[in-house]
């Protein structure tokens, strides 16, 4: 495993952040250290792959091509249709409620804050599992696709399959949390976010804190919500400004 110092050097080298002497030192080390060279190649290749928007677009177009559907796929399509109607009803309800709120209701209930500040976390998935992908990856891929298609109950059941084997899986816990909010299972969502936060070092910490506050609001734990949003407002989180706005409405 690459140490942090070398990881930094590689990134800074590729980003053009090293000074002349540091570049010379780094290039000298590259000559003697095969692992460092391989790691640099990997970082470089990943950077190239990330910038291949055209290939990613082509791949997603190819994936969308309809090759004669199996019975199972047809069944799923029918199921998705029902949930689209449910989602549309939900949006209509939220829209009507927002209008009512804007027409002059001055107090801020937990539900009003929810309606004004909550939206499910976005995701962009356009890769399809290859046949040699392992089972857990395949299920995660399907779960994320269901999530993206707003089929939250299907997504939840797939995430659950992963969590039964590994209850600490971060991606599954985080997106289960959002899916649980979507189906109004706030206590379950709360647990999901706490599991992500327990891990302490991952990419979903800020997001989980934010959504945990939402869960507290929707389970009438207003004090806990205030405590959560105060911590966010005082930190360096992406959600800092919104957390301050919520605190102003809650306190």
């Amino acid at each position: 495993m690459m140490n942090e110092k070398d990881f930094d050097r590689i990134e800074n080298y590729l980003d053009g952040q090293l000074n002349e002497n540091e570049i010379l030192d780094f290039e000298k080390d590259l000559m003697d250290d095969l692992d460092l060279e391989m790691e640099l190649n990997l970082h470089n290749e990943i950077n190239e792959a990330i910038m291949e928007d055209d290939v990613m677009e082509l791949r997603s177009k190819l994936e969308a091509i309809d090759i004669p559907a199996t019975t199972e796929e047809k069944r799923k399509a029918k199921f998705h249709g029902k949930w689209r109607i449910a989602a549309a009803s939900m949006i209509l309800f939220i829209g009507m409620a927002s209008v009512y709120y804007m027409l002059g209701n001055k107090t801020y209930s937990n539900e009003e804050i929810f309606m004004n500040y909550y939206k499910p976390y976005g995701i962009v998935i356009n890769t399809r599992s290859g046949t040699d992908t392992n089972e857990a990856d395949r299920i995660l891929d399907q779960a994320l696709k269901s999530y993206e298609a707003k089929n939250y109950r299907t997504a939840l059941s797939l995430f659950q399959t992963i969590l039964e084997k590994d209850s600490t899986n971060l991606t599954s816990n985080f997106y289960s949390g959002i899916s649980n909010i979507q189906v109004q299972e706030y206590l379950k969502a709360n647990k999901n976010f706490l599991r992500v936060l327990d891990h302490k070092n991952n990419l979903f910490i800020e997001q989980s804190e934010w959504y945990l506050g939402i869960c507290y609001l929707m389970t009438n734990k207003r004090e806990k919500a205030i405590e959560t949003y105060r911590a966010i407002a005082e930190g360096n989180s992406f959600y800092r400004t919104k957390a301050k706005e919520i605190l102003n409405k809650l306190e």
Binding site: M2, F7, D8, E11, D15, L42, H43, E45, I46, N47, E48, A49, I50, M51, E52, D54, V55, M56, E57, L58, R59, K61, L62, E63, I65, I67, Y121, G122, I123, V124, I125, N126, T127, R128, G130, T131, D132, T133, N134, D137, L140, L144, T171, N202, L203, F204, Q207, N236, F238, R240, T241
Partner: protein, 186 residues
């Protein structure tokens, strides 16, 4: 409507939906039959066909392809070569295909392109699974947008936040890639 070989290649180059659909409709069944007759499933065939088109696309990005055979023969040969490579990796019985291989010279150089396609497919899969803000920051960094400008565009607290977030995103991406079972294969 039928497309000429040139029109098909041009359609792949521009990711034209009509041409891509046409390719699947006209040429996929041959590949599917071939894979299914040689230790594969229809799902394998679908993956293989997709990768073959991307390999062709990558090749065209480097230099134009001029075919001396028709497109049906070409894509079938590419798919056959790629399937052979897959089976080699799986240590499967290759006799069936090897005895049948009389590859057009024009598909000889697809191997290198295929290796890149396989690797980058893995990297892109994990990249797409990162939170959207991570994807955005990493792309902007590679476009040489300054941390200050990224912070401004994305509404982040400041440069330091952008730098630490980018670091964490890249670190997570690399860890996830290395932990993928396919990593050692590619």
């Amino acid at each position: 409507m039928d497309y000429t070989t040139e029109a098909i290649l041009e359609g792949i180059g521009t990711s034209n939906n009509d041409v891509l659909n046409y390719i699947y409709r006209k040429f996929f069944p041959d590949t599917c039959r071939f894979v299914e007759n040689n230790s594969g499933t229809s799902e394998d065939a679908r993956d293989l066909f997709q990768e073959a088109i991307i390999v062709i696309y990558r090749k065209m990005k480097k230099s134009p392809i001029v075919l001396t055979c028709n497109f049906r023969t070409y894509i079938y040969s590419v798919c056959r070569l790629l399937w052979l490579k897959k089976l080699e990796k799986r240590n499967d019985n290759l006799d069936i295909i090897k005895s049948d291989v009389v590859l057009d010279q024009q598909v000889d150089d697809v191997s290198k392109s295929y290796e890149q396609t396989e690797k980058y497919r893995l990297y892109q899969k994990h990249f797409k699974q990162l939170p959207p803000d991570c994807q955005e920051i990493m792309k902007l960094y590679l476009e040489k947008v300054s941390a200050k400008e990224i912070a401004k565009r994305m509404g982040f607290a400041g440069e330091d936040y952008v730098k630490s977030r980018k670091y964490k995103c890249k670190q997570t991406l690399i860890t996830n890639i290395k932990n993928d079972n396919q990593f050692t294969e590619v």
